[in-house]
């Protein structure tokens, strides 16, 4: 299957000195859900910002490598142009326009349609997936609950009718029950619209349960990749990202001892 998004040997440097990504490569095939896992500071968010052109706004820079979206080289393209081509970034922590209403947030996202869909916006698709947003359409979104805000953030992406959606930690700050609900809807959106997705997560258990394919990122490089179901049973992944290994509970001392010797690093 053709890749909707393809990242090859990406190097990212902040402030001209601090190298954050080292030769990172990954691919998101059309219509599939791919997850990128890693701990704090591994470079997950930086990867997404590099793909969607937000790096220069934070003194970051793509020092090498290539990003290809929908068959074209899009490395270093301006972020609003990428959004208009159909590469939509749902940023970490929702990042809504908090002083605007739910509906106004959706209208703002219509800018990502560019000239592809000049017709007036119709939010019925969004309200179909998220009936609660329809009830709150005229409320200032800063006062919504965390789950509802995440729904609105995803709704904004839907409005843009994208080809690929990048999610940055959709589970951040949400109760486990809400996380399950959000991921269920993400999967339904994928099935209904065929949009490809790249989901960055720290919650590896949920992410691997809902994705088709997974990458594991450490210190700015991909350490492991594979089908999500296979990754979920990989002993190292279980140990370091799913909080347990085969053979029942281990003592903290064992884990600590083991930390120094990840198998894939040897």
């Amino acid at each position: 299957m053709a890749n909707a998004l393809e990242v090859t040997a990406l190097d990212v440097v902040y402030g001209g000195t601090l190298q954050v990504l080292r030769g990172l490569s990954l691919a998101v095939p059309e219509g599939r859900v791919v997850t990128l896992l890693g701990s704090n500071g591994a470079g997950k968010t930086t990867t997404l910002k590099a793909i969607t052109g937000l790096l220069p706004l934070e003194h970051g820079e793509i020092a090498g490598g290539q990003v290809r979206f929908a068959g074209a080289d899009t490395t270093r393209l301006a972020p609003h142009l990428l959004a208009r081509r159909g590469l939509f970034h749902v940023r970490e922590g929702r990042q809504l326009f908090t002083d605007m209403t739910v509906e106004e947030n959706l209208i703002a996202a219509c800018n990502a349609l560019g000239t592809r869909h000049p017709a007036p916006p119709d939010f019925e698709e969004v309200y179909g997936f998220f009936p609660r947003l329809k009830e709150r359409a005229r409320q200032v979104c800063g006062y919504l609950s965390g789950g509802e805000q995440q729904m609105l953030a995803i709704g904004r992406a839907l409005v843009a009718k994208p080809r690929v959606i990048l999610f940055d930690e959709p589970s951040l700050g949400l109760a486990p029950k809400v996380v399950a609900e959000i991921f269920g809807i993400i999967r339904r959106i994928n099935a209904a619209t065929g949009v490809a997705m790249l989901i960055v997560e720290q919650n590896a258990r949920v992410a691997l349960a809902h994705a088709d394919y997974g990458y594991i990122l450490e210190s700015g490089a991909i350490m492991l990749e594979g089908e999500a179901a296979r990754l979920a049973t990989n002993p190292d992944v279980k140990n370091f990202y799913l909080g347990g290994a085969e053979g029942g509970r281990r003592s903290f001392r064992d884990v600590k001892h083991y930390r120094g010797a990840k198998r894939w690093l040897n």
Binding site: A83, Q95, F97, D99, N111, A112, A160
Partner: protein, 290 residues
């Protein structure tokens, strides 16, 4: 009682003008977070463009007004591109100081081109007094009020209902997030400055039609500081309410306490408002969910 109503009407009419003058400040502050000290000079420049097209070239006032709007849009966008964008990432104080400098440059340049003498824009607004019931309002006050409210209302509707208006508020809320939803942030900033300059141009033409036109017309703009603080620097609705309140209060003060207190009263109100609501009556407070 009749005196009260008549002074109220005159005060409110003057307040409409204040609202229009304050609108240009609010647009730029809301859109880009900068207090534009050159707004008054943009107003004055607009009035001179109108004067040139209308009086010196002898064209109809509607054409002159359209020319003023186009010129102001271009001038505002140019200021954004040439000055503001060059200062992107610099401390806010430097940007604000740049607008102070721009104001001085504009004042000097206009003086060089058009001269320092007083000009008039006669007959632009109908002088015939307007009667509301049995109460009389001077014609130019009445019509400047109507026009001001129409412009402010149009801006309000534009911000609320159009895609580009919503995009402008989005960019004001967060530039990075605006980029992420596909908004062309540099273009929107230029549009904001252009629109503020155009609104300022209209205000300048009305002011020049009521008073006289000199290169110092822009100094009047800072007199709406009280309006901005009462209404909130980033609120369009606040501009209307603030303008009307200040205009009415000035008129009342002049009528009942004596003209010498007219200029002081607004700042007494400002002090009171700041004590109770530091963001102004309608100003935005950051929404923070915990």
């Amino acid at each position: 009682m009749n005196l009260f109503i008549e002074y109220s009407l005159v005060g409110l009419a003057a307040g409409g003008m204040y609202a229009l003058m304050a609108l240009g400040f609010v647009l730029v502050f809301k859109g880009t977070g900068v207090f534009n000290f050159a707004q008054g000079e943009l107003m004055m420049l607009g009035a001179y463009v109108f004067l040139t097209v209308n009086q010196l070239a002898g064209l109809h006032w509607s054409i002159a007004l359209a020319a003023t709007a186009v010129f102001a849009l271009a001038a505002g966008a140019f200021v954004e591109r040439a000055i503001l964008r060059a200062l992107a990432g610099q401390p806010l104080l430097s940007v604000v100081m740049a607008t102070v400098g721009l104001g001085l440059v504009l004042k000097g340049a206009v003086g060089l081109i058009w001269g320092q003498e007083q000009r008039t824009l006669p007959g632009l607004l109908p002088r015939a007094p307007v009667f509301i019931g049995e109460f009389l309002i001077p014609g130019n006050a009445f019509w400047s009020f109507v026009i001001s409210m129409a412009v402010v209302g149009a801006c309000l509707a534009w911000f609320r209902f159009t895609r580009s208006g919503v995009a402008m508020r989005a960019a004001a809320s967060s530039q990075v997030n605006a980029y992420a939803v596909g908004i062309n942030v540099p273009r929107i900033s230029a549009l904001t400055w252009g629109l503020a300059a155009a609104v300022g141009g209209f205000a300048g033409v009305l002011l020049a039609a009521i008073n006289n036109l000199t290169p110092h017309l822009g100094d009047l703009a800072l007199s709406v500081l009280a309006v901005l603080i009462v209404g909130g620097l980033d609120s369009l609705a606040g501009v209307i309410v603030g303008g009307l309140v200040i205009g009415w209060l000035q008129s009342m003060t002049g009528a009942y306490l004596g003209g010498q207190y007219r200029e002081v009263m607004p700042f007494v109100v400002v002090l009171a408002v700041l004590l109770v609501r530091p963001h102004g009556l309608f100003g935005r407070k950051e929404i923070e969910r915990i």
